[in-house]
């Protein structure tokens, strides 16, 4: 039985269709990265899974519970780490965890709190108010709060958004450890590197739909080939390079100050300038090709 199943789910906000006939299945024990640009419908999908949004149509099943009717039972068995920090900042680290341990009906609250403090590496800060913690510590605490009841399913909504690279790496290590231990994870992100490093499978979402799904390496091969060439130069030259590559039947995208030409291994240098820098294709190439959005 999949941990999460969505069948033809639609969610509209007035004239805007945030989630559009979405089909999504997350098997138990994997980390699925839901990758998409801002406004793709990732956060709405997360809210649908916690019962904080009700679909206009379609079916949602989480850990065998039909939503929204059995949403409370499903939430008892899942952990949620939100995009926005909603810790109680004046309250101690320990109390923040204890409150949620009680809400999750954990039989031994103190044991669960100690375990979560160890996970967040905050045992020595347990009596401090959250306001006194650094940004990275707060993010670790937020993650530990979602795991205080050791759920089999974890929803991570943009888990490292706004964090500096060092803290981001710390959080990635924690998530990776959970994945290794068998926790099913659905992680929405718009960071390519995050999805590439952590996700067993990636689903690319845009305009409320999944437009591609697979293991990162498979997606790269399918949508971007194996080698990408980047050409730098003044805007006029980039326009020229783009036109030549497209004429040779190659997929091209803007890559900041450069033009990236994908699948060049099939081109036999036809349409590829000599000064092009060749590199292995990445998930970013796939993302931009599929969504038309610049990656972060």
């Amino acid at each position: 039985m999949p941990a999460i199943e969505l069948r033809r789910v639609v969610k509209r906000f007035g004239a805007i269709t945030a989630v559009d006939e979405l089909d999504l299945e997350v098997p138990e024990g994997i980390c699925l990265g839901l990758l998409g640009p801002n406004g793709a419908g990732k956060s709405t999908t997360m809210r649908l899974l916690t019962g904080q949004a009700i679909p206009d149509s379609g079916e949602i099943r989480v850990l065998g519970h039909d939503l929204p009717g059995e949403s409370k039972a499903a939430r008892a068995e899942m952990g949620v780490v939100p995009q926005l920090d909603n810790l109680d900042i004046d309250v101690s680290v320990e109390d923040n965890l204890a409150i949620f341990a009680r809400l999750y009906r954990v039989p031994d609250v103190q044991f669960a709190v100690d375990r979560a403090l160890d996970l967040a590496r905050l045992r020595d800060r347990r009596h401090d108010a959250v306001d006194e913690l650094s940004g990275g510590m707060r993010r670790r605490l937020l993650l530990a709060r979602g795991l205080v009841h050791r759920p089999p399913l974890l929803l991570l909504d943009e888990p490292t958004v706004g964090l500096d690279p060092q803290i981001r790496t710390e959080i990635w290590s924690l998530i990776d450890a959970l994945r290794t231990e068998g926790t099913t994870i659905l992680m929405s992100t718009h960071y390519i590197e995050e999805a590439e490093r952590l996700a067993d499978e990636v689903a690319v979402m845009t305009h409320g739909k999944i437009i591609a799904r697979g293991k990162p390496a498979e997606l790269i091969t399918e949508y971007a080939g194996s080698v990408t060439a980047e050409v730098y130069g003044p805007p006029d030259r980039l326009v020229e390079v783009r036109a030549q590559a497209e004429a040779a039947g190659l997929a091209v995208r803007a890559a900041g100050p450069a033009v990236a030409i994908m699948g060049v291994e099939k081109a036999e240098n036809n349409g590829i300038p000599e000064d092009a820098i060749r590199r292995a294709a990445t998930l970013e190439d796939v993302f931009v090709t599929l969504t038309g959005e610049e990656a972060e």
Partner: protein, 266 residues
Amino acid sequence: MSPEPRRTIRIRRLEPVAIGGIMSREFANFRTYWKGTTFSSILEPVVYLLALGLGLGATLVNRNVDGVPYVQFVGTGMVATAVIFSSALPAMFGTFVKHRFQNTYDALLAAPVDVEELVTAEMLWIGLRSAVYGVFPLFVAMAFGLDPAPAMVLVPFFCFITALGFAAFGITVAATAQKIDQFNYVTSLAITPLFLVAGTFFPINQLPQGVQIAAQLNPLYHLVQLVRDASFGLRMVDFLHVAFLVALALFFWRLAIRQMTKRLID
């Protein structure tokens, strides 16, 4: 830390564990700001009693109102003032801030908690707090000569049921308002008139007939009557006062749940 084997949790409506969990969050936060709140809850009735009870009271012909020394009349009435200010206002501002600025409800609703439990827990917490703070003016009035009476032990209960209604009213307002500035209309058009025309500072029976009838719909009027009767002698009509306050709390409880559901669930 591998996941625990799945536990089957029996899920029902209005679960004490969910309500208790949310109240424990309120208590944990309260421990960080209780000193300031308690200080003002004690100081305010003292100031009112000094200014009105002793100041204004001294200008009255025989210093009595409805057969009671004015300072004790105001002192017992101030219980209602303490209740509305420690229930309706914290419910309005607290709910709005927790929803809009702190995203607290997003965190709580991601746990096995529903909006009905959330609203109920918030109401119960505010009700309990107001039951404690509501008694302070009575103690202050005792310092100004009010004799203790056995029925005064009921005053925290009277404060509690009144505060439940005001808490639910405040939550309803917060769930309906688009901007925090809109609370100004509520305080000016609802809370201030309720607070002034409740028989706290002057007897209702001296007002025009229409206002007297309107005052019967003011929950604070019923609380003032209950507190005065607990202090000077309970009457059968007090059951009706209690029934009115309970009915009002039930009405606003359901309304608050409805409005909060609209606000929190997309």
